[in-house]
């Protein structure tokens, strides 16, 4: 395997781990709110969080460029203040992967939380526990397998992200060329051996991830 392919693998794992961590930080609270706390604007949040799942990745990529490009809504002030642009860096790959994988995490975790017996939560309330402590000590631990399944699915999705990544992060070997982009370029340039190697690794990894997700999902039921 060429050094470019190895760096693509390393980069992909880096990006997928970072994206999954970000998704956990952001997605689990959102899933909890959607599952347990009716609030004004809930349907809108639900819609926004599900949108990346349904929209073509290039549409999401377009929005990300509008937001984070050097002249973007958020990107321009960021550039003025710090001289830094997200686009064409590996952070852009993380952002793209995070956004595309978020719906998977939120939906899975939300379902897991909704399946927790509310009587147990109520019991905790009557014993004097605050909502936050109940969530952390009762609800989330009981939804643990579903949460893990969600994380695993989000990881797999982040690993395989292509369209939005290509648009926001570009296809720069060693810096933003993740495995899916590397396979694309290898096929474009007729390097079938290189492509095959990467395809095999990614397929094996994805299978492992799916098996893990299924096992965890089954245990959660």
């Amino acid at each position: 395997m060429s050094p470019d392919s190895i760096s693509a693998l390393r980069l992909s794992l880096q990006v997928a781990v970072a994206a999954t961590a970000l998704n956990a930080l952001v997605g689990i609270p959102i899933a909890y709110a959607l599952a347990r706390r009716p609030f004004w604007g809930r349907s809108l949040v639900d819609l926004l969080v599900t949108l990346p799942l349904v929209l073509p990745p290039t549409v999401v990529g377009y929005y990300l460029i509008v937001l984070l490009g050097r002249r973007g809504v958020l990107g321009a002030p960021l550039y003025q203040l710090t001289g830094f642009t997200v686009a064409f860096t590996w952070y852009a790959a993380v952002v793209a992967a995070t956004v595309m994988a978020l719906p998977l995490l939120v939906r899975t975790v939300r379902a897991a939380i909704e399946s927790v017996d509310r009587d147990l939560e109520r019991a905790a309330y009557t014993l004097g526990r605050s909502e936050l402590r109940t969530a952390l000590e009762v609800t989330l631990p009981l939804a643990r397998n579903g949460i893990l399944a969600g994380l695993v699915l989000a990881f797999a999705r982040a690993l395989g992200e292509f369209g939005a990544t290509l648009m926001l992060a570009g296809n720069i070997p060693g810096r933003t060329q993740t495995v899916p982009l590397s396979i694309y370029t290898a096929v474009q340039t007729g390097e079938s051996a290189e492509a095959l190697g990467l395809v095999a690794v990614l397929t094996a990894l994805s299978c492992l991830v799916l098996i893990a997700a299924n096992r965890l999902g089954a245990r959660a039921a």
Binding site: G69, R70, R71, G83, T85, A87, F88, G170, N171, I172, P173, T185, Q188, T189, G190
Partner: protein
């Protein structure tokens, strides 16, 4: 009621589909994206003078187009932005013999965003810290990137500029990155630089002796479904009318004896 409506729609769709296949005589042209505007215009004229003929275009980087043809894509005409890709096809006997001709010439230039205030007037300026990002076509597949690499290597700048380089999938994407202000400078053709009005401006032109001449060979692909029409289209590109259109878009006439 619904079922009847669906059935009626299906019948109409089938009918339209059959009608479409019966009358279509498409000539498929894979062309380097830098000639898009000129070739599209000439194509309209060609279709007008050949009733019943439609032209289908496939734009992209010459390297990707070459690989598609190698993989068996049903293409009639291939127009490349460099001899390299055409040579590769010729080696694999994928060109109709005797149909290869050069239709135009181009020049490399370095552009910057239209409102850029970064001072870039010579190649050496690209190394300065005020130039943070430079876009070039991916040298593996994009001729504009190959010429840029050749030029920068000749100037001894290629290695030092590596950390600043952003790769584009074709020269128009490179142009787009500059117009969008995502990068401080980009390598495109002079013909691309003029398509964006005030969106981009030329910074400098690399010396012509630092890269091989940018030539556009065109040829009929072996196994073309419309070989006669394909050859006729190439003749149009070489005709006085074709050369006038190309010239209007900024291309230079093909150098004598070029392949």
């Amino acid at each position: 009621m619904i079922v009847r409506a669906i059935r009626r729609i299906l019948v109409v769709a089938l009918g339209l589909g059959l009608a479409a296949t019966a009358s279509a005589q498409p000539v498929t042209v894979s062309a380097a994206i830098s000639v898009k505007d000129a070739v599209s215009e000439l194509g309209r004229g060609f279709a007008a003078s050949h009733p019943g003929v439609t032209l289908l275009y496939n734009w992209g980087s010459s390297g990707s187009l070459q690989k598609q043809i190698e993989a068996g894509a049903p293409i009639d005409v291939f127009i490349s932005a460099a001899a390299l890709q055409m040579d590769a096809l010729e080696e694999r006997k994928l060109l109709a013999p005797g149909t290869r001709k050069v239709i135009a010439r181009n020049l490399l230039t370095v552009i910057k965003p239209g409102d850029s205030r970064v001072d870039i007037v010579k190649p050496g300026d690209l190394v300065e810290t005020r130039v943070r990002r430079i876009v070039v076509g991916n040298p593996r597949t994009v001729p504009a990137g190959q010429y840029a690499e050749e030029s920068l290597r000749a100037l001894g700048l290629w290695d030092r500029l590596q950390p600043k380089l952003v790769f584009a999938e074709d020269v128009r994407q490179a142009l787009e990155y500059v117009a969008r202000g995502e990068v401080d400078a980009g390598f495109v053709y002079t013909t691309d630089a003029t398509t964006r009005g005030r969106g981009v401006k030329e910074a400098f032109r690399p010396a012509e002796d630092t890269y091989r001449p940018v030539v556009y060979p065109a040829a009929v692909v072996a196994g073309a479904r419309q070989p006669a029409l394909a050859a006729a289209f190439i003749d149009l590109l070489l005709s006085r009318e074709g050369q006038a259109v190309l010239s209007r878009f900024g291309f230079q006439p093909p150098p004598a004896g070029a392949r």
